[in-house]
Symmetry: C2
Subunit: 222 residues, 2 copies
DNA sequence: GCTTTGTTGTTGCATAAGCAACAAAAACGC
DNA sequence: GCGTTTTTGTTGCTTATGCAACAACAAAGC
């Protein structure tokens, strides 16, 4: 159900009419490269990650780096989505080889002089992608709000168990390393490992390395 | 620069053509009322808060309530923006008397049979509002990622100082109670008060109650 | 007016979790 | 192949912060 291509539903013939209008261009980045730093890109651009994985990080004034977002195919990013704050620097870095689409933001928000017929389809796709982005951010906030490491990890695993492919025994593999998970949940990795170990001992979860299984907790209530 | 009205740039005549198309309707809520709970509203609706203030909260399985978002005039919300997770209940509650616009989401994502000329303007406005929403969520995540209460509060105040009206002496009043701020930053209120007190003693900030002034920190570096 | 509710402010105590430091295994680069 | 880097896994110590419990004050309701 997830849209990953802003030009979906648009025929090749229409594409040729649209291209001069939205002035899209593509660029490839290899692992480790900086795709953009907020403030340096044209503020009237939106970027779409078409393939690969990237990460949006902030650097605060103390020099601490925090992982804000994992970006995957179909994710939109750019200044219109992250207000550059004083004292914070936002950076998007490629975690794999990436293909990025740059699009003119002004054209999206102003009516099209050519009234190209698929203008509204593209904007609609962009709207959906922006909504998808909000879903990801809202999920992240819900996890960060959990007060204990245990609840953060359990909430994440409970979410992951609905998204990841499970094998016959109910085990699934999370899509990031435990180092990255600790960053994402904003907890100390060693403390998280300790908590995972404890939860395994208590029979709440099972697994090893990135593979997990969540045992449905007994009904706790009235 | 912030858009708060999805029908901005649209003339009254056009509005009359559009109305049967997007099937918008409005509803008023008074302080304390529940506007919607995710899962109960039609998943193909988007809601826009036109006036008043509201809060989006989650309730986890332990019964803890967390403030995810403050909603103000111009904020979009609804299921398309917050995936309802298992074990989490999302609720939007009016904090003041509110006026809410409900709009058909299916119409936004499908091409308009009538090809109404302002269709794309409305979608474009919605896109901008969705992007604005992402900005707010990204800010919230940046704050939650700060590892100490001190950094959370300082980062928030530093942001607030760029947004709130300052008086001649550089003091500004934050737009929520300290109770709400502690919820928003996901910290214990008493611990936050302790930290605010300490920062005042150290000369980093000044003020009382909701009024603050941030002293620019000396250059710390190389 | 009075009562109730919410906000600000404070402190003592217990502990969850950060930090530092390490080792083994796996993955990667060449 | 082999060296380097990353990931997983572990533990001891320390402290930031959550929790509980309180009091004074302000605001809201009647």
């Amino acid at each position: 159900m997830r849209i990953t291509n802003v030009f979906s539903q648009i025929s090749k013939e229409s594409m040729e009419k649209i291209l001069p209008c939205f002035k899209p261009y593509w660029k490839e980045y290899s692992h480790g490269e900086t795709i953009l730093t907020y403030g340096t890109s044209a503020p009237s651009q939106v970027e779409i990650l078409e393939s690969g994985k990237a990460r949006l990080e902030i650097l605060n004034e103390d020099g601490d780096v925090f992982l804000i977002e994992h970006l995957e195919a179909g994710d939109v990013f750019g200044e219109p989505f992250s207000l550059p704050l004083e004292k914070f620097v936002y950076t998007v870095t490629a975690e794999e080889d990436c293909r990025v689409l740059f699009m003119n933001y002004n054209h999206i928000i102003k009516p099209c002089a050519n009234l190209c017929e698929h203008h509204s389809q593209i904007i609609s796709n962009l709207f959906i992608m922006a909504a998808q982005k909000s879903q990801g951010l809202a999920l992240h906030i819900s996890l960060l709000h959990q007060s204990t490491i245990r609840n953060k990890v359990l909430s994440y695993l409970s979410y992951a168990s609905t998204v990841c492919k499970k094998n016959a025994d109910g085990y699934f593999t999370i899509p990031m390393s435990l180092v990255a998970l600790a960053e994402y949940l904003s907890v100390d990795r060693s403390a998280m490992m300790r908590e995972i170990k404890a939860m395994k001992a208590e029979g709440l979860i099972d697994g090893n390395k990135r593979e997990f299984k969540v045992f449905e907790s007994e009904f706790i209530g009235h």
